[in-house]
Structure formats: C-alpha cells, structure tokens
Symmetry: D2
Subunit: 339 residues, 4 copies
Amino acid sequence: MIVAMKAGATEEQINHISDRIRGFGYTPHVIRGTERTVIAAVGPGDKKEHIEQLKSADGVENAFPILQPFKLVSTEVKKQRTIIRVGDVTIGDGGFVVMAGPCSVEGREQLMTTAEAVVKSGASILRGGAYKPRTSPYDFQGMAEEGLKLLAEAREKTGLRVITEVLDTEDVEVVAEYADILQVGARNMQNFALLKKLGEVRKPIMLKRGLAATIKEFLLSAEYIVTHGNPDVMLCERGIRTFETATRNTLDLASVPLLNELTHLPVIVDPSHGTGKRSLVRPLAKATVAIGADGLMTEVHPRPEEAWSDGPQSLLPEEFDKMMREIEPYIALRQSETN
Amino acid sequence: MIVAMKAGATEEQINHISDRIRGFGYTPHVIRGTERTVIAAVGPGDKKEHIEQLKSADGVENAFPILQPFKLVSTEVKKQRTIIRVGDVTIGDGGFVVMAGPCSVEGREQLMTTAEAVVKSGASILRGGAYKPRTSPYDFQGMAEEGLKLLAEAREKTGLRVITEVLDTEDVEVVAEYADILQVGARNMQNFALLKKLGEVRKPIMLKRGLAATIKEFLLSAEYIVTHGNPDVMLCERGIRTFETATRNTLDLASVPLLNELTHLPVIVDPSHGTGKRSLVRPLAKATVAIGADGLMTEVHPRPEEAWSDGPQSLLPEEFDKMMREIEPYIALRQSETN
Amino acid sequence: MIVAMKAGATEEQINHISDRIRGFGYTPHVIRGTERTVIAAVGPGDKKEHIEQLKSADGVENAFPILQPFKLVSTEVKKQRTIIRVGDVTIGDGGFVVMAGPCSVEGREQLMTTAEAVVKSGASILRGGAYKPRTSPYDFQGMAEEGLKLLAEAREKTGLRVITEVLDTEDVEVVAEYADILQVGARNMQNFALLKKLGEVRKPIMLKRGLAATIKEFLLSAEYIVTHGNPDVMLCERGIRTFETATRNTLDLASVPLLNELTHLPVIVDPSHGTGKRSLVRPLAKATVAIGADGLMTEVHPRPEEAWSDGPQSLLPEEFDKMMREIEPYIALRQSETN
Amino acid sequence: MIVAMKAGATEEQINHISDRIRGFGYTPHVIRGTERTVIAAVGPGDKKEHIEQLKSADGVENAFPILQPFKLVSTEVKKQRTIIRVGDVTIGDGGFVVMAGPCSVEGREQLMTTAEAVVKSGASILRGGAYKPRTSPYDFQGMAEEGLKLLAEAREKTGLRVITEVLDTEDVEVVAEYADILQVGARNMQNFALLKKLGEVRKPIMLKRGLAATIKEFLLSAEYIVTHGNPDVMLCERGIRTFETATRNTLDLASVPLLNELTHLPVIVDPSHGTGKRSLVRPLAKATVAIGADGLMTEVHPRPEEAWSDGPQSLLPEEFDKMMREIEPYIALRQSETN
C-alpha cells in the first residue's frame, strides 16, 4: 500500500508511520519528494484495516491499496475460467445461455404457458420469482413455497432448469430444495448474512449487481460466497442507478469485458431490468451477445398488461421468439470468431 | 393516476384502457388534447400494480401515480409527530439527541473508555456495532453476541441507552434482547424480510437510508416496519452515493426538512458516514442542529488509528467533547425559536 | 399538462388555477378524486414556463408536462430519418461509419501516420482535436489553427473527411473553414451561445452528450441547433458520469435504441471516452454495431505512451485494424437483417 | 506519482518505465512487493500528461498522482484567505453576505420591487439574470443588455451591488461594464474559453459548481481564472445531480468545510437551485450559516407564480424577510465563536 504524508508532516510522524507499517508486517520504503513524503509498504495483503488505521494517524493525508481486494474470484489467482453445470446446461464455456420467464410466478396457467413458450423458442433456463423483493409493502410479495412448487412442476414438464430468487437466510433451505440456481437480487448484493449462507449451498448462485455497487464491491460480494465454500457463482449485470430517468436503470454493458478481465466467473446480462422498457430488450440482447457475455436473462409474460409486476419490461412470447431468432446469427458469428 | 396515450393511439385502445381502469375500480376521465389523449383515473389508491399493467398495454406511452405510495408514515395520514421514548430519552419531541460511540465494539476497554467519555460530554445513546456489514469477507465481521454483552455492560455502567445494528432475520431476537434501539444499516434498507421481522419487535428501530435510495423508497421501507406492527421508527440520513469521491458519501442535508414535510417520523443525521472525514464532522454537526434534525449519530474512538473500522471518520473523545460544546448554543438557539 | 393539487386545496385555489390555465390558452379539466383534485390542461404546448408558474401557486403540489419538450428533432414531428452527407460519406442511412484519429493533433508526423493507418483500415472520417477542453489549465490546450491546417493537409493526402471540436463561439468561423464536421464536446453540450451559433453554420454538427445530461436534455440541445437553422446534427453517446470509477465513464448503450425511437437524428458511439480503457474498446465496438448505432468514433495513436492526452484509451493502429476486421462481419450481419 | 506495474510485469518493462520517468525529470524509486512492483516517481509536479503516458505503457496497471493538481487556489500555496471587496461589501472576511433577487430580469417593475424589498431585508447584493442558459430553445432567453441596464438602474436606486451571469466570451465585455460580480453558471463551469477570458476581467467572478463536477474539477476551473490573471474568485455550491428526484439537485453542504480546507477562496451556497423547492430554502439558509459559508444566494420574486423561470424555488419578499430574521441570530452566534 501507499501512504501519502501531508505537506508539513514531521520526521516524528514519518517515523511513527514507518513503525506502524512494520508492526503490521509490511516493509516501509520512505520516499522524500520536494513537496511531500510518500511511504510505500510492501507486504502480505494491503488489508483495509491497516489502510484505515494509517489514514487515521496524524500527518497522513491519504493511504491506498495497490493490490486488488478480491482474491479467489480473481483471474490473477485462478487463470482458468469457471464453468458451471446445471443439469445438461453449461454456463461459462464460451456458449450463450438464455434464461427467460415471468418476473413473478402468478399461477399455474401463467407459468406453464410461459415455460412452454420459452423452451420452444430455445431458452434453457426458466426464471420466475416466488419470493419478491418489492419497494412497497402494498405490492404483491410472491407465492412463496407454492410458487417454488410450480417452478418444479414446470421443470418436470419442459426440461428447463429453474432459477429463482432467495430473499433471506431463513428461506435458503427451501429455495435450494426446489431451484437449480439460486439468485441473489440487486437489493441483497450486500446482504452479507445471506451471502455467507449461500456459500454453504451445493447449488450454483447467480449474484446480481447492486443498484449502487461498484465492480470492486460486486466482486467482493462474490468473494463472500466463494470463501464460504461455494465456487459456482455467476455474476449478473442488471443496470445501475444513475441520474437518467428515461430508462429504469443504466445498463453498464462495458462491465462485461471488464469483468472478463478481472474474474473467471461467468457473466450474465439482464436487459429487462437494465432498461425497464420492452422495446429496448431486443437490441440490447444482440449487443449482449456481441460484447461477449455468457448469457442473458429476460422477462417474458403471456399477457404483460395483466402481469402483477414488471409488465412494461416483459416480452410477449412472440417477441421473445423473435429475439431468439435475431440473436442466433450473432451467437453463430461469435462462435466462429473463437474458432 | 394519469395515463398518457401515444400520439397515434386508436379509439379502440382508448376504450380498452378505460375498461381496464373501470375493472380496477377507478373512474376514467378521458381528456382529448390536440396531440395526445390523457386518461385520468380517480379511485382508491394508485396501486403500482395497476399502473404497471396499464403501462404495458398497447397505445399507452406512460402511466404515473398522483398519490404518494406511503400511507402510515405520511403527514397526510397522521399529522401528529411520532415521539419515541427509550428509557428517559425522548426522540422527536423538538429536542436534540446525540448518539455516539465506536464503529465496532472491539473489546471491553475500548468500549468502556468510549462510553464513559461520551456520556460525560453529554451523549445520551451509545452506538457500537457487534454484527458488522463489511464489503470484504476478509474484514473484521464483529464480536457478535459477545459485543452485545459488552454494550449491555456499558449501559449498566453509564446509564447510556444502546443502539446497535442487526444484519439478518436470524439475529433479530438476540439483538432485541440486548439493544434499546435496533439499527438497520444502509445496505439492508431494502432487506424486506428483515424489515418485516422488525415490525414485530417491541423496540424502536433506526432505519438508515440506502446508498442509492430515493426519499420515496426510504419512506416505503419505513412503511414496511410500521405496517408490520412497529410504529417506533426513526430515519437516519447518512449520505448517498454520487460521483464525488472527495467525501465517502454525499450527505443530503436537504432531506431533513423534506422528510419533516412528508413524514411524522423523527430524523437523525450521521455526518461520520455522510462524509468519511473526521475534520468535516464538527461543522456538519452544527448544520444538523440548525436544519432541524432530531439528533445526530457520530463515531468516537479513543484511538482512531487503532480502530478496526472507520478510524478516518471517528472523532477522538476530546474532539467529540469539543463538538458537544460547539453545538450547545445552536441547540439553545433552536429551542428559543420554537418558543 | 397535469396539475396535482395538494390534499387540502380549497375551491378557491382550484378555481384560481383553472383561471390561470385558461389565461395561458389551455382548457382546464377538473377531476376530483377521493384524496386529491387533479386538473388536466389541454392546449398548445405544455410550456415549461406555464408549468413552473402553476407549480409556484398556492395549493398546487406538482405540475408536469405530458408532451415531450423537443419538437423538430422528434420522430413524432418528422418520421423520415435524417441522412447526413459529408463528401462521399453518408451517415444515418443504415450503414456504419467509423471516425478515428488521435485525441489531440500533436504535430504533422503524428497526424499523418495516424491518418494513413486509419484510412487503410477502413475509417472514413479523421478525428483530431486542435482546440482542447482540458480540466486543468496546466494541461496541453491544443495547436489551434495550426492543428486545423494539419487536419486539412491530412484530408488532402488521404481523402478522409475531418471532424474536430469547436470550443467557443469566437472559434466557430475558423473551425468551420477547415472542418467537414464540427464537434461539440460533452462539457459544452449546454453552452447555448455556441449551439445557437452552430445553427447558422452550413456544416454538419456532432453533438456529444454531456456528462450529466439526460436524454431529454441531450435532444433539447440538438433542438437548439436545428431551430437556429442547421438540420444536420448527429448525436454522440460517450458515457455519462456515475459513481463507478473502474471505467472513466459509464457508456449508456441503451441510449442508442432509445434515441432511435425518439429522434430521426443519427447516433454515433464513442467507446474510447465511454470507458477510458483501451482493452474495452474492441468489445464495445462490436456491441455498438449490434445495437444499431450509425457509427463509432475511436481514438487511435501511433504511440499511446507518448500521447499528450488520452493515451490510456487510444488504440494502436494495429489494434484499430484488428477492431475493423472484427466489426466487419457484424456490419455485414446487420445489413442482411434489414434486407 | 505512483506507478503500479501489472502482476507479471517483466524486468524490461520495469526498466523502460524507470527510464521514461527519468526522461520526464522525476527520480524513480522501484519497490518490489511479493505480488507486484511499484515505482514511486519524485519530482516537479505529477503532471497529468506524464501520468497518462505512463498508464499507456506496456506492463503498467495504473498510475496516479500524489500531489493535488490545483496550485494557486490551494491553501498549501497561499495560506491567507482571499477577501473580495465589491464596493463596500466584503466577502470572505468571516462575515456573511446575502445575494438575492429574481432568477431572470423580467422588467423594470419586477426588478425594482424585488431590489427594494431585498435591500430593506438586509441583502447586500442583487442577483438577476439578463442572459439566461435555458435547457430548451423555446424558453425565455433573457432581456440581454436591456436587462443589464435595469440592473444598473436598480443599483443606483438601492445601493445594492449587482451580480449577473455571463454565458459567452462574446458577452464578457458588456456584462463586465454593468455588473459588479460576473457569475459563471453551472453549465459553463468547464467552458474553458470563457474562464480564460474572465481571467482578464478586472471584476470578481462567482464560479458555480457544475452539475457533475467533482471538488477537484471545481477548483481546477477556478485555477483557470486565477492563472489567467484574476485572483478574485468566489465559489458557489449549488447542488449536484444525483439519482434523487425529490429535489432538483442534491445540495452538497459538506463541500463547504471541505473547500475551506482545500482553498483560500470564499464559498457561497445557493439553496434555491440546490433544492428547487421554496419550502426548503429557509432551513438550508440556517444550515449554510452554521456550516461556515461566506454567504448565500437566493431567488426572490414578488409574484413567483408569474415568474418566467424558477418560480417554484423563489421566495416571496416576505418569506425572504423572514429568512433574514431567522439567520440573524445564527450569524451572531457564528461571530461570537470566532471571537
């Protein structure tokens, strides 16, 4: 780590910091500039705790790390890309996987109709929320276990694998019983108790990026799951919150190649939540393929104008089918590139 | 609610929307402009579900509510301000309450030293984290129940009331056993499972504003707790995340008078997290009094450069004492205004 | 426009607002709800001035427009897409145009080497700044007219058309003399004096989106140029400022299909400024084609590590060539879609 | 500056960077860590140009400055606070100055009424826009020179000093002829041509913070004016753009004590633009005094509901008077603190 001393820092202060650095197990290198003294500390880890303590000391202007704070999820630590297998579906091997389904599970007919439509169009994973995180307590909160059972039934019927959100540590067990992939929603990306518990689950996790989460924080949340025992984590870019109100969120597509540099975990894109507008989903789906994501997740509803949540961003089954036809040649083109 | 039709919407579409609106139990009023038709729907509630469904229909450009989505926390529903009593401390009655203490409980000596210092300077509530939400899994995660016991011990010794954070539904019971006020951290502001559970607790809750939470979402999270049975909620402005990196967060002080218009709940300000810089805490404390908040929460540590977390924003006991002396005449001035 | 009255608004206030609305030339429709009265005003324009005045009146909670504030640039007013011709280059006709070159013109050798490289790889427009907007007064401010002359010389030699930035009303004339397209930088997107003057220029304008500009403001700035007489405006998405620091800006690729819905003006994407990282430019270039933009602008420098500005985001000529080879099949695929 | 090499950087790359650093006139210090090599460069300036060039080189992961990029405006370079004199008004000497008036000059009666009201209530500077930066070309653009003349007339009548905005280099001369202080609006904070020209003016400048400007950029824009010859610059915090829509902007009050640490220039706060809501102005005015600003600017209009711009945030003369009465004891309290 690097410690920048204030302009007028005294020798005593510089020595004190050097001593603290040694105390933490690093080797200090004092570099005296014309205006300022800088101390470089070489050692095992750039621990945030040490950095904060040094920052708090007299005479210090700033202290910052050189090393990245995430380890196990980093390409520096593990070069080999993580490939996640869910039944016969493979995520992260260079192919492109499509997850589709309604925002919320609302009933048997709605779910089965949607599941049958999306499997026919080529999706391999069915999404559908049984536990819903809703901004208002007056909004529909999900069908809970009944919804999970319907998802399992749809899996039976269609062969689709199932992804669904888990909201709370207390629900992890029951969700893990029914789902093939457990999803952590954006609002829970830093629910650390939940992340720790998911580290103990033997099913893959899809972690959605928080509304105000930096890439670094996103990776540290994945690190929580991996350090607690579960290496099968995929990341989902779903838009961040900015000043722009013309779209529901600002989809940060550049995060895909950036994450591909920083981590070996697969990256999925969710253009439905990323924009909140049905008409933008299809163009973004093409861009998602072109930019190198491992898959996409999109909301589909047989009657968006009767959906209990997220209707405005849900595709009709026929629009979803059109999207699948449109991205096909892009997937083929991408495959040809890597060969 | 208001439904704006697209420029070229057909009569059929307009009639269809009017029918849907009637179906939801509202009365539609069709207003035909030169360029666009607008339908105003009058009825019981402006439910988000209805708005989303209408938005999803053909021919609709946009649909938006007129009514505020929060009810029980709103000054429209309850004019009388909520006054929260914690032992002999009263919050929300026009007085000014100070909560102070270390970011994390690190051990007996650290906590007792701090508690004795802050009570002597005039604080009435002791803060200290026993369960710590940390961005990295490699950072100190808190002393858990052992930390809670130390807080209870400090209460015994000093007479201070105790506020501490609860991270997860599974910890609610144990935290409620020891704490006088349960705190929901910024990262959990939309942990709805936790909010629901806190609705069943018989102790006051302090809800911190999320890093990317709008005022409306903040109030809806409070509404969750109140609708689930607990009316004793206070709000805490602790800064939001913006593009500015010179401070840790951007403290939105204007939210204080705005919340005072919208809600009857007390509002506390946390200038420590709001800025992340020790030197800014004292001037912000004065502004917090002047702007009309019900109290402030600030971090104090006997040796910030040895703190396991948040050292750079923690005041030394003597700085805290100075702050208390400085805000005293502002509190007195404010009192004289209301008389 | 819609005027929402406060919960307790009096009859007198409602009548007063209705009178004001009539005074502005609109027809008021008073709709009485159970909790609130809403007044819909139908008439010519939803002028911001009227909305603000109504908002300022007693008893009014909020007032907001239904109509979009931009007219001439809107697809509602002009369905036909704007096609811009610059010599033999056509922008906005469904093809894909590439603008490339150094951030700053630094000298003859640098510019000619770059120009020859990019034309060989297939670019059709040369970029290069002669007047540089720099955050610090101590940074290189550009070669001014000397730089313009070098750009003209490069055009002579290579046949490339030339785009360059104009910073100030006083420079419009000289820049228009040399350049084929005049660029308005992000920091000047709301320099209205400049926009007005560019309305009088007989050359196409490329308007870059401001760092904190909404799509609506972006289109209103284009509207300034068009209302002042120049219809040949293209828009450039170059990233917005958010809390994320891992990239220089957050490239809002969803703005491309959104703008394609709202306006008939061509849309260009700048992944160099959009990310600030060389390694992200190539994947984003593919996504830019896939999502339906009319072109892209990218920085190229023969020796980025000697560039006087923006080296970290500049491609080497060989990387640029690789990018051009990579996007070719995506362009071909896109063409085949529209046929 | 500090250069962090990539994990696998070669000896050759490290040597190359050391040579480049020497070439720029700095002395390199190579520090070899267990995972990474860092090179500290000591020398005259941490020039952005050098940092960007090093960042662009092979084997480099990142390069960043230690020194602040602003000089003349910095408290490190000039300890003594800048005191600005405008007639008999002094800004920056520890007192508190109030600037008030309408958003736009709309006519003689409107301006004179307002001027007479605000001088009576204790304002010392009259604000009023004659050249208006408006988001839409269809909004009122200001009375131009006619408006300036009315401002001068109001100065004659009331003894108030006059501040007004200048939008463009071409208007600097005429505005400087009439105004006592020239204001640079938020949208022009990085209009560098304008800043340079204002460096040549012999009148004080008030520079408003840009909507997306960091504190560092804000100070660098002030540095432009000062390096070009005009030391009389005051800064104005007027809110930044964030995701929050309940207020027009997010007023960053913490910037006041932060700027007081970093620069010797006076700091003014504008709660009218900072919030966009009349009802929030008075509480924020008190906070502005308490936090240590040198003054505040607020919009006042005799009939906000007839104002051509910014009515919703304008105070009525009687509200302004009330505000002045309310802040008086806070100003007195602050004075007593420094004695």
